[in-house]
Structures are given as structure tokens and as C-alpha cells.
Symmetry: D2
Subunit: 304 residues, 4 copies
Amino acid sequence: MPTILGQNQYGKAECRVVKITRDGATHHLKDLNVSIALSGDMTEVHYSGSNAHVLPTDTTKNTVYAFAKEYGIESAEQFGIDLARHFVTSQEPIHRARVRIEEYAWQRIAATPPSTGADEPRHSFVRTGQETRLTQVTYDGEHWEVISGLKDLTVLNSTNSEFWGYVKDKYTTLQEAYDRILATEVSARWRFGWTDDGQQPPAWQESYEQTRTQLLQAFAETYSLSLQQTLYQMGSRIIQHRAEIDEVRFSLPNKHHFLVDLAPFGLKNENEVYVAADRPYGLIEATVLRDGREARIPVDLTTL
Amino acid sequence: MPTILGQNQYGKAECRVVKITRDGATHHLKDLNVSIALSGDMTEVHYSGSNAHVLPTDTTKNTVYAFAKEYGIESAEQFGIDLARHFVTSQEPIHRARVRIEEYAWQRIAATPPSTGADEPRHSFVRTGQETRLTQVTYDGEHWEVISGLKDLTVLNSTNSEFWGYVKDKYTTLQEAYDRILATEVSARWRFGWTDDGQQPPAWQESYEQTRTQLLQAFAETYSLSLQQTLYQMGSRIIQHRAEIDEVRFSLPNKHHFLVDLAPFGLKNENEVYVAADRPYGLIEATVLRDGREARIPVDLTTL
Amino acid sequence: MPTILGQNQYGKAECRVVKITRDGATHHLKDLNVSIALSGDMTEVHYSGSNAHVLPTDTTKNTVYAFAKEYGIESAEQFGIDLARHFVTSQEPIHRARVRIEEYAWQRIAATPPSTGADEPRHSFVRTGQETRLTQVTYDGEHWEVISGLKDLTVLNSTNSEFWGYVKDKYTTLQEAYDRILATEVSARWRFGWTDDGQQPPAWQESYEQTRTQLLQAFAETYSLSLQQTLYQMGSRIIQHRAEIDEVRFSLPNKHHFLVDLAPFGLKNENEVYVAADRPYGLIEATVLRDGREARIPVDLTTL
Amino acid sequence: MPTILGQNQYGKAECRVVKITRDGATHHLKDLNVSIALSGDMTEVHYSGSNAHVLPTDTTKNTVYAFAKEYGIESAEQFGIDLARHFVTSQEPIHRARVRIEEYAWQRIAATPPSTGADEPRHSFVRTGQETRLTQVTYDGEHWEVISGLKDLTVLNSTNSEFWGYVKDKYTTLQEAYDRILATEVSARWRFGWTDDGQQPPAWQESYEQTRTQLLQAFAETYSLSLQQTLYQMGSRIIQHRAEIDEVRFSLPNKHHFLVDLAPFGLKNENEVYVAADRPYGLIEATVLRDGREARIPVDLTTL
């Protein structure tokens, strides 16, 4: 046969699971979107349609819900580890499992009058709607790779951004800018150094919160001459402050805010009125690495 | 001619305007999406294509940006009032203007170390991503109609919701529920009693914040036997507490969270593990009115 | 109580039903998204949460699937009529039913070698992806209202469009255009004169195809001085050629294609290279009526 | 410094260009969405913000529009080649260019009465709305890599699909199926063997049309025991019939159509009435290769 089968994987994508944990009248909520991808000894199902090695995608979905009960959801990372380990260790033909999880955050709704005691019901939530937290856990039976991150975190500096001194060729018409809005919708992934069951795993929840804070503060505090510079500051700040992280990759659309020309109306626009543009947008992507480590996060960031 | 022209309107939709106001090192930000619809003496442009009465939609867009400079953006409502008044009073063929605005909220990013004085830069923001604030201002040269509201506010109660005692016909298979998740993505519009320049206008910003709080608290505090009951509680709470509002309409998708059957796996699901479903969804819509007032918010809520 | 209940309705939205009809080896496919809204004697469920008058939304969903089997899906309109009649006539508290349907079109995939006989399998389809067909059927136990239409039909004329002679105020900067691209994404609704079971109903399928053709040809053949003129031509052509239709409403975004200024690069752009813009866009909306009929299609077109 | 810079690239994403070519009264239309990504000697802009090596993303956008005039758009692939070559050969710091293009297809609107001669205007188009054609061209100054493909092509077989004989573990509840609907939304990429200016390039337009036909016919004609088998048939058919293509990768969501249980209503569902589900969905991904060639299409398919 002139054709052969290359890399392949299968599983159930976008299993939406909500887990409620009741601590008396105080409820806790985890809201995840889980996607499973399995690979291994799967040649025959492609060649002949024999499913003898195929655990149905429906079963992988069932497993997500059963594990939410059996193991709970302490963090997206730990839940992904539990699932990936299960598929690789319980099914001989499956040699590798990749679990991707999106997590949606919720805040409590404060009751009225304000809380007066431990027994007041606390079961009401509003979805925060800000960034979506991400994790991807991959396991091959020996080594772990955990890449966490976030998407849809939109940030803006209304000053302290310039852009000048660039190359000018025959197609260049852009004017230099000495005080512009810098805005982007952050998509970031960070890879943990943890790869082995023998190592102490990171404190996943605290790691996320601290990494997010470093990222935001680096964005806010960088006086920016280019979005690349801001990106590098965000990445290196994370590498410096978070020992558990070896590599960070960003995909940063430059959400252009163009100063509106008000001169035709006899008005002067002193960096006050901007049009927020949709398309096209600059797109800046790069990896920032701990020295001596290898880059493994793919160039194109994806979530499902 | 056997055909005639009915209601018509035109304008520029989705003008994205961002306004920065600088108060020393502290910047303030307003982020709006403004849509203009004008109507009046416009028969001829439909019949013959004569544009003699047509102010171009491009001009209505320019006006949005110019007004952001000339009048500032104190609130979405006031900005809509300024714009609507301008079009109706400055162009003889235009008899009615409707301005719809979406407003996106931003929070400040805290710098590190924490703020130590008035001169520390405060120009960094993160988009909150929660609900989108809405307003629609209509003016016919005499009377004002202001309808504000919000969309995409997702809320969830993890208990205190039941559903039973309903009609059962030959197509009914639903089991009664005595403890279920109740979740919805609130789309709400509220109409102000203010209609005349001679009246004192509401404090738009405070009104929005208070109305949103009443809505959330009513959702959290209602022990619900049906989503209709919760809707009515949210609406009547707003009418009772906000004298400036005469009418509220809600469109509430029942975002079903189905309890997963874990029995086949030997597990008992004690209201812990749910699947968050997408489609289909229940859709509950109703108007709640101050007694003696007339309903004017359209049955179908729209934003652009 | 100072608050009262206004218009209200409830039901299941977005019931996705696919119906396969087998005629030997030739299969036929209908692919619908059905949304039910019921209203009537529903005050008590809002006030007290009593569901004694409430047929569950889950039951309305079941009914959609059962009716696909019992009555088949000859056309979206007929299916909507069957459903609306059922709810109003079988449940005493329900006084009015509104059924909205989106229909997705599919084409057959031709096998290879080309069809050679009646027994060759014909069960393979590709979704056309063009416009979505719409219908809304409303029944109050006496009268019918059927409004059909389409959305997402994107059309473009690369010439025969001008725009000049418009009003110029202090905010006008637009240059007049004597040869421009005219493009829009048609959203249209048309109301049938049929209102009574005693009248002969239209041939729904043929009516849709002919109306769509009239609309497209009017777009193609109108030398346009304004999008309003094109809109009116599309509407009046439908009214003139389709006796079963009394009223048409359009919502036409002017999908701007701006001529790119290539002069800085020493190039002349003779109406060749355009940028297709996203936002903002002109939005032109109007109703075209058969003389003597009353306008009943709402100003804001909605689909779900 | 403990951190270093890894892979990085930048450019303008989503440049929407529409090109009209006039051949007398007959117009031709090309509608593309072009994204540029450049990389090379770009360390300094990340470290210090110096833009001395940075051709602005605004310039890359201008180049897209200028090239549409200077070189025309014969095919998406040729246009991508022209652009990629320009950036790498004209700017010393740029060592590699990747151009991604989405192409939207349009059909002519037939005028009425039907065409009677060469001079009848032919300038009216309707967007087909089916699949989006894709290409990605990468050039490093020596070698070319061209990967074309499509997305959003939704196909369905209403019979000739089974699924049984799979692994059953403790979480398996799925029933075996001997006649089911098989539907998927094809996302495919195929890599051309052409890598060198010295080789004769493929006939890009004909290659696309033929590859798409092979893909559709393989889907229609495969009696399927698993979606993996169908995937492999589509891929190997392309490899066998299209000598210019060395590798194909598919990402195929299994768009589940579940048979509705009508038994509670006293009805028998003989593979007639299905619910089209949204989430979760099976996701089947694999590469099919010409024997002896190396796989280079990334595991995760992306478009922008």
C-alpha cells in the first residue's frame, strides 16, 4: 500500500462537568470543560474499522463524570493527572493520554443583609467572565508534561507605550507614536518542570494565582517600546518568580486603538478619543525559557 | 404602485469608542459600542435613491467620536441622550433617533508594591468580562424613552430550587425534582420613568449599580419552585427598590444542569456531579411592571 | 402589591431535530432547530411558583421529536403549524403558541462513477452553508400568523452602485462615490396573507424558493444609488410577484468595502483592491407592504 | 539573565482583501483573509524594545494590498508564495515568513431573463457559505512548504455506518450500533511535495478542486465501521489520486446524531428521528502519509 498512517489520537472533546461540594450550608463549585485524546496501538481501526482496541469516546466521557465523584476536583491539573493515569494504566492498547481542561471561574453572590453567621446559606454564584484557565496534562506511562495557562484576559495600558525607530521600506506608511494605547488579549501557556511521580508536584492552585499576578503586574509596570518587549517582561518575570515553571509561551494580538482624527471638526484629540479596531491586528508570539531548559510548548497555541 | 413603505430607519451600527480621561497620573476609561438608528422623512431615498434627506451613516459615526471629545462620556445614558438630541434637533428630515450602547467594564490592575501615594501611575486596566451593560435612548423631539439593562450575567444556585406539580400529558417524561441546580444567563432591560427634559433625570450610574445588586440578591435569596417565580422576584424587587424604574423585562434561558446517572458505575450521585447542557434550553421571558404603568419594552430583547 | 405581571411566555428553545425519510436507497433529510414559546393563564407560576398550569419545557421538546415521527416534516411552516395547533388545542391554560424554526439546507454528494440506476445508494449529504431558512408560526386558537424568511445570505455587486448627493453637516467627511462595491448580509422576513384554516395555505416550499430568487435577482439587477433603494426594490419585487405575501421586512448591514489607497506605493487603484471592513457598518432596515395591509413584523428582527 | 528567548514570530493577522478583476462586463472576485508571521534576527526587540530590525506589522498589511494590485491573486497559494518570498528576500533580518490565507468562495447570481449575450452585466455574487479554503506557505529563503486544506465542510451519511466490537470497561454504557448516522465537520490539511523553485509547481486551483472531490467521494462511498476508518479512506484516496500531495491530516469531530427514544409515546423510531447534539463530541485526528515521506503537518490544526 502506498499510504501509511501517521500520528493519530481520539477521544471525547468538551465534556462539561460541574461539581458541587457541600460543606454544610456553604457550597463550593468547580466548572470544567474536559477533552480527552488517547493514542497507542490503533492502526487496525484505521485500516479495517476493527474496534477491538478502541475504548469508546463515550466511555472516556463517562470516566470524566465518574472520576469527579470518585476523586473530586481539587484542581484542574490534579483532575487531569488522575484521568490521564487511568487511561494509560488501565488499557493496554493506550500508550499515551492527553487531557485538556478549560476552567470557568465563579464568585459568590453576597446575600443581604451581610453574612451574620456560619449557617447562612452560601450557595449562590455569579460567573466572573474574565479569563478562562487552561491546563493540558500528557502522560505516556512514564513521564508527565503539565502545561497550564489562560486565554481571553484582556488588558490595556492607556499610556507608557511608544512605537518608533522601526524599519521603513517602500510599503511603510505608519507614523511613529510616542504615547499610544497598548492593549492585548493574553493567551499564555506555561510548562511545569514537574515530570515524574517521584517529584513533589507544584501547589497547582497557588501557582496559577501567583503566575497570573506576575503576568498582570509585568504588563502594568513595563514602559513599553514594543509589544515584544512587554511580552518578554511578562515571561521573564514568571520564570524569575515561579521556580516550578520552566517555559512560557504567549500569543498576543495587538488590539489596536487608533487615535481618531478630530481636526476636520475643529477639535484637538489629545490622546483622549480612540477607535477600538477589530481586524487586522498585529500578532506577537514568543517563547520565554528558563536557561538550560528545552522548549516544548507548540508554536501554535490551541485549547481543545 | 401596489407596494408602500413601512417603518424604516438607518444609521451606523457598532461604533467602538474608547475615551481616556487623564486626572494627573490617574486615568479613567470608558469603552462603548454605539449604534445609531435614524428615521423621519425618508421615503424618497427608498423610492428613487435620492439622498437629499440622508445624513450619511459615516457622519453619524464621526459624530459619536466628536461628541466623546466635546461632551465627554459621563454615563452611557447621558452620552446617548446627547447624541439623540443632536440628530433630531439639527437635521430637519430626521424626526426620531434611537441610540443603543453596549458598555464594557474594566478594573484597575494593582501595581506592586501596593500604591504608596497619589503620583503612582494608574493607567493599567483589565477587562472584567462579566455582564455587558446596555442602554437604549429614543427621542422624537418631545419625549425621551430610556431603557437600560444588561446581558451575559451568568448566575447559579446550587440548591434551593425545586420543580414539580406540573401538567403531565402523553409526551411528558420529565421526573420531578426536589433539589436541583438553577442557573441562567440574565438578559434584562428596565425602562425609566424619565421622559421629559423638565424632569430631574435619574443618577444613571448609581441606578445601574443598585439595580444590578437588587437583581443578584433576589436571585440568591429566592427559594425557587420555578424559574418564572425567580424572574418575578427579581423584577418586583427592582420595581420596589428603584423608584426611577417603571418596567423590567427578562429573557432567562434555563441553563440546564442535569444530574449524571452514576449508578452503572456503582456510585451514588448525591447532587454532586452535573453535566452542563448547551441545547435545548428552557427559555422564560416576562415583563414586570409598576402598577398603573404601560408596558413598552418589546417582547423580543435585542441589543444592536 | 405595587408590581404586576406583563407579557410572558415560556418554552424550550433550540430543539435540534434531524429527520431521515427512506425511499428505498434514496434518503431525504430535514434538519431543523425548533423553539417553542407558550403563553396563556400563567400568572400563578410567577407569583407563587405553582406549576399547576405549566406543561414542562421538557415536554414541549419531546413533542417536537414525537411530531417529527407522527406527522413528518413536509416543510418548516407545516411542521410549525402542526406543533402550534397541538399546544393551543390540547392544553386549556395555553392560549397562544409561537413556534420558531431555523432550517439548514443540505445537498447530495455525487458518487463516482455517476449514478447509473435507481438502486445506487443516495444517502450522502453536504451542508450547503449558505443562508439559514427561517419561519415563525403563531396561533391563538383562531388566527394564524406565518412569517418566513432567511438570514446570513451574503451578496455583493462589484459595480452599479453609487452614493452621492447626501446631506453634509459639520461632521461630514465622506467623499462621494460614483462606482463602489455594494455588499450586504440579507436578513429578511415575509408575512403570508394566510391566517385562517378555511383558506388554502400557500405552497410553502415553492414560495420560499421563488421568493429567494426574486430577492436575489432584484439585488443583482438594481442600479443602486443607495442601499435603501436596493432594499425597496427587493421588497416590492417580492410583493409584486408573490401574491401569498403581504409584507416584507429587511435588516441590511452595509458591509463596507473600502477602496485601498495605493498611491503611497506609486500604484493606481482602479476599483480593484478593497478592504472588507467589519465594524462599524451601516444598518438599513425597512418594511415594504402590500398597499392596504397592516404592518405586523416587529421592527427588530430576531430568530430565537 | 536566567531566562532566554525561544521561537518568536510577529506580523499582521487577518488582512481582509477583496480583489475585483474586470473582463469587460464580466467581473471576477477573490476574497481572502491573509495573516503574515515573520521571524529572524529579532532578539533585541524583545530584550530592549529596539525596533531597528522590525518591519512594522502595518507595513506587512500594506504589502498584502499592494501585491493584490501588483501581482494579482491567481490562487491563494501563489499569492502566499509571492508575499513570503518578498519578506524574506527584501529584509535582511527576516529569515522566515509564513503566510496563512483563508479564502471565501462566491457564486454568480443569475440575472433574469437568462443570459443572452456576452455583454450582459455579470457583476453580482452570492457567498457560497460552504467550506473555507485554507493555505499556509512557509519560506526560509531556500525551501518552500505549502500546506493547503479546508475547514467547516459538514458532511453526513444517513446509513452505511456501524459501531460495535469495542473495548468495554467498567465505565462503558454505550450500546452497539448497526445502522447509525455518521456526520462530521471536516477540517483537513494537505502538504504538497513541491519545495523548491526549480520544481514545477502544482496547478493549485485544479489540485484543490480535485482533492476536495476525492475527499467527498471517499466519505460517501465508505461503508464505515468507525470514523477512523472513514478518515483513513479519505486520506489514502487523496494520496493515491493526487501525486502532488505527500501528507494529509484530518481533525474530524464526530457530530453525534442520537436516535430519539419514542417508545414512551407509543411510537417506534425506525432510524428516522434524531437529535443533533452539540457537546461533547468524539474527536478523531490522524495523519495519512505517502510511504517514505516524513510527517510535517502539526498535530493540532490551526488556521490563524
